[in-house]
């Protein structure tokens, strides 16, 4: 379980007219697929980065599985970070490492008793034939698949995704959502997805928090989409979006 207790976060900068996060309280259950939506600058990334202690709260506390992160030193945070993986908007792959080397990287950072092999992780995202390529040889969607394989290879308890589809075109974005959805099913982990893209959380998440200017406006239960949009070809979706309404 991930718990936010009256969390506020202010960055020391003159230009900010409002705190990045103010007085946020909510909980994410174990195994849940949880979304956080909001416009650019709403504080989504900051919220996500509090969960793996890349940021520290200005006040309040973030508890992960009963442990208050702010009480831990960097060294004590390592065992926790070992079980949390992150997927990034810009993929954040190492350009000088091959696909397989990128996916293997988290296994070199910590020793894991239970983990996927690099091949299993690449199989899962459908990139087994690309293992010896370099990121510059891949498309955006393929890069994000590598990013997901790298996140999954450690069999994390928590998967954090920061705008995982925002650098991709729509149909690729939908493919990535499907991969994440399958990962959630297959690996029984908590997923937290942060995005400004509403269809992504609608397709992927059970509950969604809405952030606005650093404030938590509401938490919604998501009605699953009846018709998976990803099955429709691009031109049909274009007609649907452009001609209706």
């Amino acid at each position: 379980m991930i718990e936010f207790n009256s969390v506020s976060k202010t960055f020391q900068e003159i230009t900010n007219t409002f705190p990045a996060l103010s007085d946020i309280s909510f909980a994410i259950q174990k195994g849940e697929a949880f979304g956080v939506v909001g416009e650019s600058g709403a504080g989504k990334s900051t919220l996500l980065r509090l969960i793996n202690a890349l940021e520290k709260p200005t006040s309040g506390s973030v508890d992960v599985e009963g442990i208050t992160l702010s009480t831990l030193e960097n060294k004590q945070l390592r065992p926790l970070k070992k079980r949390i993986s992150m997927v990034f908007q810009q993929f954040n792959l190492l350009n000088n490492k091959t696909v397989a080397e990128n996916v293997r990287l988290p296994l070199e950072i910590h020793s894991h008793s239970v983990h996927l092999t690099v091949d299993e992780a690449l199989n899962f995202v459908g990139l087994e034939d690309k293992k010896d390529q370099y990121p510059s040889q891949l498309s955006g969607g393929q890069k994000q698949r590598v990013g997901i394989a790298r996140a999954l290879v450690t069999r994390p308890d928590i998967l954090l995704c920061d705008e995982p589809t925002s650098a991709l075109d729509q149909s690729t974005a939908e493919e990535i959502v499907q991969v994440l959805k399958e990962a959630h099913k297959a690996f029984n982990m908590t997923i937290v997805v942060v995005t400004h893209d509403l269809p992504v959380v609608k397709a992927l998440c059970q509950r969604v928090a809405v952030l606005e200017k650093g404030e938590l406006k509401t938490i919604l239960d998501v009605n699953p989409s009846t018709e998976p949009a990803e099955n429709k070809p691009y031109h049909e979706r274009a007609i649907e979006v452009l001609s209706n309404g």
Binding site: N52, L54, L77, R78, P79, L80, K81, K82, I84, M86, F88, Q90, N92, L94, N95, N96, K97, L105, P106, E108, I109, H110, Y134, P135, S136, L160
Partner: protein
Amino acid sequence: MVENVRLYLERVAEYLPRMLESLGETGIMLFFAMLAAILLGIPVGTLLYLTSSGRPMEHRLLNRILNAFVNIIRSFPFLLLVVAMQPFIREVYGRATGDPVAASFPMVVIAIALYARFVEQSLNDIPREIIETAQSMGATTWQLVWKFLYVEARSSLIVGFTTAAISFVSYSTIMGVVGGGGIGDFAIRYGYQRYETDIMYTAIVLIILLVELFQWLGLKLAKRLDKR
């Protein structure tokens, strides 16, 4: 014409042993300078990066000290550095003049300072996202450096090393003032002091070829390792 060429070749043949000896002395000085750049310049440059503000090992005092060292050495006119180091070299090595090993001491100092700055700049060019990715994985600073920073910066580290090495060649040419020898000293002695202009130009061409060789090797290796 043919006669001139024959005469020239004869003179080169006559001076060749001395020229090769000088090249060997240059080699010794460059060897120590490059070794120091790698063994000490890289750690100093990495520490400069890691201890600067907003970086993973932020430490104002250490950063100031390292910066001061690098700046002072680099702004020191090299000839003065050579002279200023004489007492120190005599103390630790026994003699300060007359051999290329003694002459390597100032080369080592300038090599560390010069390459440390290149290393710092290469690391500064790595995108923030890469550091953040390492931190999100819970990587130690050691892991960050070896598994992320050096991997992503490797070709720019090599380009910087090439540029530094070419400067080392230039610095080595004035070590004649303390009897360090080297191909630069050879050119000065035969060309400037003895008016053997043809021999001087031959030595200068050798120096240019050496620089070109470094440049070629460095860029080739950097390109091979760059997968961006």
